[in-house]
């Protein structure tokens, strides 16, 4: 018997994270300059003060997807500790995408924040 596809949609690559946010974070990281996968993972973790735990493996399919869309470009190089590594850098299209994504993200966050703010107010009053 052939293998069945699981019933649901493709599993979200970042697991804990919201769809698309990992892409955005990667692009943001690359604004600082070309980096390889290991660096990107670390930067995301450290900058977020370890709130966002990237399951490091899931980074790679995301990187390839971004490359397919032409937002990042890659080439093999030598890393700071003298190891062979694949370096990714932001393309012009990637910059534009990052800008748009960030804008959209802030809008969504703002909206959600306003709703949650009201809810928090209500919860406070109710508990009194």
């Amino acid at each position: 018997m052939g293998k069945e596809k699981p019933a649901g949609k493709e599993k979200q690559p970042t697991g804990e994270m919201l769809q698309g946010t990992l892409d955005m974070l990667i692009l943001r990281t690359l604004v600082m300059g070309p980096a390889h996968g290991h660096t990107i993972a670390h930067v995301i973790e450290h900058t977020s003060e370890d709130v966002l735990q990237v399951e490091q493996g899931s980074l790679y399919p995301a990187l390839h997807r971004l490359e397919d869309r032409g937002w990042v470009a890659s080439e093999w190089g030598v890393s700071e500790n003298n190891r062979k590594a694949k370096f990714y850098k932001l393309t012009a299209a990637g910059k534009k995408q990052l800008h748009a994504e960030t804008h959209r993200w802030l809008q969504v966050v703002g909206a959600i924040g306003r709703i949650l703010g009201e809810a928090a107010e209500y919860a406070k009053r109710a508990s009194r």
């Binding site: 018997m1 052939g2 293998k3 069945e4 596809k5 699981p6 019933a7 690559p13 390889h36 996968g37 290991h38 660096t39 993972a41 399951e55 490091q56 493996g57 899931s58 790679y60 399919p61 390839h64 997807r65 397919d68 890393s79 500790n81 190891r83 062979k84 590594a85 694949k86």
Partner: protein, 878 residues
């Protein structure tokens, strides 16, 4: 996902592995720097990265086209499933191959013969014009125009760019350097004929107006086949002379090999006026034997063009009211002229094979439904595990598409063979040389294969996909009523199958009966041990009637004295050999006919011994005598049809007819005898006929008829030797026994009947297989129910009846529907029927009985098996 990545998946994967390896190394370095031990550093790094395999798999998936991969997997899966039941596989593929092959072959023929334009320049603007009497009595056949009419049309009408006329002609081609003389069919045409059609000669030139004059040097154009056959394919023949009817003709050109018009038999072409007398070219009332082809002007509609021609012809009719001139004209596309006789039969055959294919499809669908039913549980389990409906449907489709694809591939090979066979056996098919398999035909093959695959796949798949999973799984527990809905679907398919089969059987039955009627039609003379052979005396050698008559007399004397010859005679045309032509006449003793009205009778010329030789009975009066020769021919003999039509209730003997048999002024003949009717074509009613003495020397074409006690064919050679002694340059053609001659005229009917019967037989087998399959399935489904019935005391015979009734119901319904459909189909093929009414009850009865018998046989085996069920095993069957 990108196409580039799809094809580089392996390299991408390797790169990714390397990339992650580098990631691990970096992490490890970091861990080491933090002071962890070597092993711990590696472990923590691996832990943090997670499963590299999973990432690689994910990327692999990301990089592939899911559909493509799935299709590949579906195909592999289907192949494995199918290979598990090779018997099923072979049967289905063969059935589909036969169905598709037959369809492709017939489509090839229909396309090449009926649909493709003629290979001439702007063939869609070429029309064939013919005389058309407004009373509707004219035959509306090509070759019915008088030469004089044509010139008036050409000069006075404005709807045509060009018009050309031609007629069929016959020559004796003399043998050169030891070759035998040969009688050939030729065409005589106006000078513009080939330039109008746009046929460029392969060698030499085409006719010029200066060639088409009575006093011009005689010229001829050879067809490619004659050029190859008689002149060794040597282009040097252009400019040389050949002898036609012992007259020299200069070969000016050779026609290209594809040019075979109007048929294969026409071997060379000459200009009209070289061979035809001037008065024949100009006359309006006499000879109507020309075919006229016109090229419509651009922007002129056929209706406008023919309206003008019609008006011209009507005017001519009124001007020349004393002559037999048609009072109108009509036209149709040139291609219709060529193919009119085969159009209906070909479309009927195409419809028949279409039915066969549909039946084959239904059968495959039926078999697939059975397989689906058997695999219900598997399917249900997979659906429960999350197999989507589309996914399961796709598997079904893949399976049936694979089956049909294999069938289609095999079918195309079969079609290639069938087309080849058709071209050989049906040489008389118009445009047979143009039949070939080309790209559109192959596309057609691919198209119907896909269609079949989708049809056969989607029917069972739909029924499989929408069933409740739960009920299927529960089925295992104990099913007493089986899966009713699927059985219903199968029954509907079966009913359709049976109905189509009945339609085919009825069509086949009617055609077969027509053929048998045709074969048993009394042609009016004996056909037993009669040999016929024809010849045409050349004008130049036999200029005077006396020469013709003396040749005939000497020939008969010599032949009659040959050992083995019982009787011999000469005639213009033997029965069954086609229409020899007719003459208009009037009866002297009757009041004159109104102006513009004419009566016609078929003409014949015979020697005194002919009627006895071929055993046409004398009803009244006497035969001709030896003394009636040259211009001493004052007597005529008529047939019974003539008497019925023109002398009803009257004694024709001693009456006189006036007609233009020998001279343009006409002569008077006394009727001295009445003979039995004969048919010029088996499928046609006897025509009123008048016979004149052949010794008057008027007819230079004749057929020799020889009757013998036994094995008359062995006389052919000695007789031909006698002819060669009398005239070594005289070719003899159509050396045939009467049986062969009649066989030729029935071969089309026999061909059509045989083919349709074969298709109907195939359908019947398929339907029987379908019935058997469905009932066997039902019985298996209901094993435990039947077991319970038997346990409760049902008699075996009751069980038998129950199952039989169930299985036969689709057969009865299908039969009823099929009889209805057959009645409709029979009306559509009416013009192919002979001596059989479309609603001939005997055919319908035989078909019904045959189908009932086959259905019973197909059903009785599973039913009997059901009634013999072992009780214990039946109850344990689950």
């Amino acid at each position: 996902m990108s196409v580039r990545r799809f094809f580089r998946r392996r390299r991408e994967d390797a790169e990714l592995a390397e990339e992650m390896e580098s990631h691990l190394a970096h992490e490890r370095d970091e861990n080491l720097a933090r002071g962890l031990g070597e092993d711990e550093a590696r472990r923590m790094a691996a832990l943090k990265l997670g499963s590299t395999r999973r990432v690689r798999e994910q990327l692999w998936k990301q990089n592939s086209f899911p559909l493509l991969g799935d299709i590949y997997r579906d195909i592999r899966y289907a192949v494995r499933t199918l290979a598990r039941t090779p018997g099923f596989l072979i049967v289905v593929v063969l059935v589909m191959a036969l169905g598709i092959g037959a369809n492709v072959a017939l489509f090839t023929v229909v396309r090449s013969v009926l649909l493709n334009p003629l290979p001439f320049k702007d063939a869609n603007r070429l029309y064939s014009l013919y005389d058309h009497d407004t009373d509707g009595k004219s035959a509306d056949i090509p070759g019915s125009v008088a030469g004089g009419d044509f010139y008036d049309w050409q000069q006075q009408s404005h709807g045509f760019e060009q018009m050309a006329l031609y007629k069929s002609y016959g020559f004796n081609l003399s043998g050169q350097s030891g070759q035998l003389p040969e009688a050939i069919v030729a065409g005589s045409c106006s000078a513009n004929f080939f330039s109008m059609l746009g046929v460029r000669p392969a060698y030499g030139r085409w006719f010029l107006p200066s060639d088409d004059r009575a006093n011009a040097t005689a010229t001829t154009m050879l067809t490619w086949s004659l050029y190859q056959r008689r002149f060794g394919g040597d282009p040097a023949i252009v400019g040389k002379t050949i002898l036609l009817d012992e007259k020299p003709y200069t070969v000016i050109g050779v026609l290209p090999s594809w040019f075979r018009y109007p048929d294969e038999r026409t071997q060379l072409w000459v200009p009209n006026r070289v061979v035809l007398p001037a008065d024949m070219m100009e006359m309006h009332g006499g000879d109507h034997t020309f075919t006229v082809i016109g090229r419509l002007k651009q922007g002129v509609t056929p209706v406008q063009a023919i309206a003008q021609i019609n008006a011209i012809q009507h005017h001519l009719h009124q001007q020349l009211i004393t002559q037999a001139v048609s009072d109108g004209a009509d036209m149709r596309p040139m291609i219709d002229d060529l193919v009119q006789d085969v159009k209906t039969p070909l479309y009927v055959l195409l419809a028949a094979v279409g039915c066969v294919l549909l039946i084959a499809c239904l059968n495959v669908a039926n078999l697939l439904v059975a397989r689906t039913a058997a695999r219900r549980k598997e399917v249900a389990i997979r659906a429960a595990l999350g197999g989507t409906r589309w996914r399961l449907l796709r598997e079904q489709l893949t399976e049936s598409l694979l089956l049909c694809g294999a069938g289609g591939l095999l079918g195309v090979f079969l079609a290639v063979g069938a087309v080849h066979w058709l071209k050989i056996t049906r040489e008389n098919l118009p445009r047979a040389n143009a039949i070939h398999i080309d790209l559109p035909v192959l596309l057609f093959a691919v198209g119907i294969t896909l269609l079949c695959g989708i049809f056969a796949g989607i029917v069972p798949a739909l029924s499989a996909a929408n069933k409740k999973i739960l009920s299927a799984l529960q089925d295992t527990a104990r099913s007493v009523s089986g899966s009713q809905s699927r059985a219903t679907l199968r029954k509907v398919l079966l009913t359709t199958e049976v109905a189509l089969t009945v339609v085919l059987l009825i069509g086949a039955g009617l055609l077969l009966k027509s053929f048998l009627q045709l074969r048993s039609t009394d042609i009016g003379c004996t056909t037993n041990n009669v040999l016929t052979m024809s010849f045409v005396l050349s004008d130049s050698k036999y200029q005077k009637p006396e020469q013709v008559a003396s040749f005939y007399e000497q020939l008969l004397q010599r032949v009659r004295s040959l050992p083995g010859v019982q009787a011999a005679g000469l005639t213009l045309a033997v029965p069954g050999s086609g229409f020899p032509g007719n003459l208009h006449f009037n009866i002297v003793e009757h009041p004159p006919l109104p102006k513009g009205k004419y009566i016609y009778a078929m003409m014949g010329a015979v020697d005194p011994g002919y009627f006895q030789a071929i055993q046409i009975p004398l009803r009244k009066g006497r035969f001709f005598t030896d003394g009636e020769r040259w211009d001493n021919d004052h007597d005529a003999i008529v047939n019974e049809a003539f008497v019925r039509q023109y002398f009803p209730g009257e004694d024709p003997l001693g009456r006189h007819i006036h007609t233009r048999w020998r001279t343009d002024a006409g002569e008077e003949y006394a009727i001295v005898g009445v003979v039995g009717d004969t048919r010029y074509d088996l499928a046609k009613q006897p025509e009123p006929t008048m016979y004149f003495p052949i010794y008057d020397g008027n007819a230079d074409a004749a057929t020799l008829v020889v009757r013998s006690q036994h094995d008359v064919a062995s006389l052919a050679l000695p007789i031909q030797k006698q002819i060669a002694q009398l005239d070594p340059d005289l070719p003899v053609y159509h050396v045939l026994t009467m049986e062969q001659l009649i066989g030729r005229s029935t071969q089309d009917a026999s061909f059509n009947a045989t083919l349709v019967l074969a298709f109907a037989g195939l359908s019947l087998v398929l339907a029987a297989v379908g019935l058997y399959g469905v009932l066997s399935y039902l019985v298996t489904q209901r094993t435990s129910e039947i077991g319970i019935r038997i346990a409760m005391g049902a008699q075996r015979s009751q069980v038998l009846g129950l199952v039989l009734g169930e299985g036969l119901r689709p057969a009865w319904v299908g039969l009823a529907l099929g009889l209805l459909g057959g009645g409709i189909a029979a009306r559509l093929i009416r013009e192919m029927l002979y001596g059989v009414k479309p609603l001939d009850w005997s055919v319908y009865a035989v078909v019904a009985v045959a189908l009932a018998l086959v259905a019973c046989v197909a059903c009785v085996v599973p039913a009997w098996r059901a009634s013999r069920l072992d009780l214990v095993r039946a109850l344990r069957a689950e």
